[in-house]
Symmetry: D2
């Protein structure tokens, strides 16, 4: 179990989906930083279930309580602990699960690793754990905002349906205009239709989230192993259901040639150095180059589906599982704030790491 992330700006999350609560300790946040509990709550509200018909209908308020590290709306420089109580435990839905391994969930692997088939422990693999990340990431975003860095993520693809989004100008307000968090309204409508179809079918779909950070100065990222794209990649691949990540041109860039792919340097009007294209995704040699940092993140279709599936029980005997209750036919809308949170946590950490060098 490794529930900590970051070197200098560091979070430690805790909690299962079916215990007293989930939470996070943020250690390394600089002192005298204005901390808005309302902003933290707003990010949690974007992540929580039940916020729209598109996502799981579980009712969870996800009300955050700051336990330490903040006085009169300012950080002390001490650890900021935050607790979100669980409300909707509803263990009965999970009786079947206790009996057999859900396909493509973490039930079997947690059992193989820890030797314990506690559902509450499997609950650690629940997306509910990410509430702590979102709370911690909200603080990271407040630190970054003071340094002129902002992050926007959005749903860019669902089940192969793609949005047309100008990444250079898209805003979080545009993203939040619909429940899907896709800033292309026409594409969003089609995607929502597709998701509704999946729900009716008791099935699920996947997709791609894109994310961009603007205002990142040149110089963040720590070669050789803590390159900015490496830490971002790890951050994204630690999110449940993520199976791939790209920076800049990503896999598409493999089809290009060096002469077509290289980003040419030029002098900006303000005298600083920029690149005319951004196939590098804002990172060269593991270090930010002053251009926007861009990511694409692949989410597999939700493993939970409302259909009978073959599987085995703990002893390996064949059986079937027929889930009951509620499910997320598409996790992407709720994953947008999680992607932003993890993005912010990496950048805040590297911001402090670079400061240590001066």
């Amino acid at each position: 179990m490794s529930s900590s992330f970051g070197t200098l700006f560091r979070i430690t999350t805790f909690g299962e989906s079916h215990g007293p609560g989930v939470g996070v300790v943020v250690d390394g946040c600089p002192p005298r930083l204005p901390i808005s509990e309302a902003s933290i709550q707003a990010e949690l509200d974007r992540r929580r279930p039940g916020q729209s018909r598109l996502v799981s209908q579980r009712k969870e308020d996800d009300r955050v309580e700051i336990l330490s590290g903040v006085v009169d709306g300012n950080s002390l420089g001490t650890p900021i602990a935050m607790l979100i109580r669980n409300q909707d435990a509803r263990g009965k839905d999970y009786e079947d699960i206790a009996r057999a391994y859900r396909p493509s969930h973490a039930d079997y692997t947690y059992d193989a690793k820890y030797g314990v088939r506690a559902i509450a422990g499997g609950g650690r693999a629940s997306a509910r754990e990410t509430a702590g990340r979102v709370a911690g990431g909200a603080i990271a975003q407040q630190l970054l905002a003071l340094r002129g860095v902002s992050i926007v993520a959005w749903v860019d693809e669902v089940a192969g349906l793609t949005a047309a989004v100008d990444e250079t100008v898209v805003t979080r307000e545009q993203v939040d205009t619909n429940d899907l968090r896709c800033p292309d309204p026409d594409a969003a409508a089609k995607m929502i239709e597709r998701i509704e179809q999946a729900r009716k079918d008791g099935d699920s779909v996947g997709g791609v989230i894109r994310a961009i950070a603007r205002g990142v100065p040149a110089g963040w990222g720590e070669p050789i192993f803590d390159k900015l794209e490496a830490d971002l990649g790890k951050a994204m691949l630690s999110i449940p259901a993520v199976k791939g990540v790209e920076n800049g041109s990503g896999f598409a860039g493999t089809l290009s040639t060096g002469s077509a792919h290289n980003d040419v340097f030029y002098r900006r009007d303000d005298g600083s150095i920029g690149t005319r294209t951004n196939r590098s995704g804002g990172i060269q040699g593991g270090i930010s180059n002053g251009e926007p940092v861009t990511l694409r993140i692949a989410f597999k279709p939700t493993a939970t589906i409302m259909r009978e599936q073959e599987t085995v029980d703990r002893d390996g005997n064949p059986t079937t599982l027929m889930p009951r209750g509620r499910h997320d036919p598409c996790v992407l809308p709720r994953a947008v704030p999680i992607v932003e949170a993890m993005f912010a946590l990496v950048l805040a950490d590297h911001c402090l790491r670079q400061a240590a060098r001066s």
Copy 2:
């Protein structure tokens, strides 16, 4: 600068391309492990330039010297330091580079970060640094071999040309049958032709390396943040020129549905639990499930091309660069052992981390 990787099985690399040498310290290698210097050298030989007409013709022997931690062919449990002397410094080729920033190289970002335009320092961003990783990874592979784990990587795509490779059976011997390290001979021939064309054009191409680890037992990987795919993703994205990484179905999986994508559990003949398909790429919830662990890694086209390119000098003044000498029109053949090394380093680390739990 963060030149260490791993928690319990941990490497620290050092060295620039134009100094006395490069190397690595492996800390945390268990004692009484047979260490074959010949095997380490063999891996380095697969990575070094000049090994075939496909890659850079720089002459470097890359002769490894073990400085510590091994006596009579066995590890002591103490740090294993290895040194590879530089031989072919040839600083003159780099005079132009000192004058201007090479497009899509790390020249500008290192300067922005460290405020030093030392070519030898830019040399830390050189792929030569990866020699230390390969030496360390060779030891990790020897540790894993004793536990029945083996890794194979191969060139799977070049400039959009794809190989047909059965990942379940491909061997390293098949991979090494041609200079390209692509085990599909027909595809390899076409890819080699494409690379030769790029060389003639003074241009470069990118591609995709696939990699598989067999024999990984269920239970490796440390949720929440050190999930196996997260650490593997970080490892791969820390390799120069990598712009994307996938585990299992990756981006293609986003086009599927849950009912089609889920991997159904079954009992194997030996009584263990397996999955009938492996879209999860051997990892569920961040923990290995006993199936082969699979990766795809995207390499952009080499930034070094033999063509005049626009750029700016250190003061932002427009200028052009015309490289001289030698270049790698495609880094993928030499990247295969680097991918294997990083793969092995992650698995060896998680092997020890899981052992700590027992």
Copy 3:
């Protein structure tokens, strides 16, 4: 701020003395370990103020709530978060403190470091923070108990008055027979008298705690830098008011000669290898040798005294401080469980680290 301790068995504490609460997240605790909440509470009760007339009379129940990581009395292998609500904030006592720096407290240095004079933040320097350590250490002790390792600490000196204690046989029950936690009743009586005198004088006294761990097998400790005595020394010096630490013969050993000081090896009746004396304090070359591990820890006199003291305010202007309310004339009785907790945290961590090697 670095509020985490340990490599594999790792705690992160949070909380100020004057906020919602204090607590700890224990990450890395192996799964399927019986966790007794009653045992955790019992250790907290030994640390809390108000338990006897010898210590501060603040009324704090220090009631622990386990927030995660434990189901049905067993660890899941996931993070164990524990919360202890603050009850007796009483900020008014601290108005004077806000005005001026208390001598030999952390008021000035926290202000110099963090630039914030929040009392609640200074409250992070309060001994109240150690409640989280004690809760985490209680779990470490439960892990160690299963491996046959037990720890006893006791008050061995107060203001130069020394106890006569046979470290080879002393038990925690004997330690807890008096409020002072000194298992030599005659010495304890004199020490208590001395402490009462200090209280009447509005003054305070210091002393020495000794601690021993029995049952530690040979082989724990990680040279070169994470030697067992080094990690133990760090653990003890991180406790408020500690100014010195010794392992084995300590400073007294510097008066000896090699021929008199060396511990001679012999074969025990059970065939294992022991030493006839234990001047090494159970550690040689940073690794446990199977003999009891012994420590002595120096605590300075409590900085809080009920006397007017000269000092300066935040601007450096001379002023005086006259504390009000309650104080601990001697912290040692309450420090005994803290020492045991930190001792256990180091041993549990090294237990897991050595297991990783096998």
Copy 4:
């Protein structure tokens, strides 16, 4: 094995006394720092054997080679690797050692931990390993010097003979005026006589080194667990033969009362805040307060003596050992630069950690 030390300014040492060499990789050194190889060599010369009749007569040049990270006398910001070749292997002296465990050495514990009785591995426990620390510490001292921080350590006690040294003014030049590195010439003469007597007796003596860092600004040190005194304590206790460490008043302070022990604040002439006394040893609440940081470190008598000693062989059979060759009757003169190096490494690390906060 944990051969790395430090969080941001981080060293990794490697090497056994009887292999190709020992060395260090310094990672995290800021760029553009003047690095004097001569200064590094000078520190190594103070540590090496054979420099005076007081210490072991082994002939070792300890010639340092910088392998990376420095160009034209300036750091690049990349890892600085340094190698010191072994010259005087002389394995024959160690044949007896291979047969039996030397009392109070690490022979038995390394065997118990690693299961390997390789002398070269036992050689990792050799003080020769500290050459890497001294080389790394020399760079830390160059970083600190630019920030006005200087460190002096000296031999303060040998076998109970004490020096009279004014810690507020003592200089390294005064320390180095005699082979013992004791700046009190009269006491030094008596101590040298005592050491010579021990050598004639085939015996050894221990003692105390004191150390002071001047110019440390208020604000360094990271509560809760990486308090400055905690990290310094760990650093010192990781040095071979150290059995105790004190900061400020240390164990003697336990005899005092709060009213006598507290350090009163006042305003210095330059307007800054100081304390009239320094019983806190420059640290309060784990953070430097601007006063000199003071340490006392206890070294046990060298375990190697030229006398026949009882012991057991690997199977536990009783036997005797009669060492041959050369020995250090007192390690303290050579330990002075090691103490300074470890002191500097901790301070350089905390200097960067505090910078990260700004």
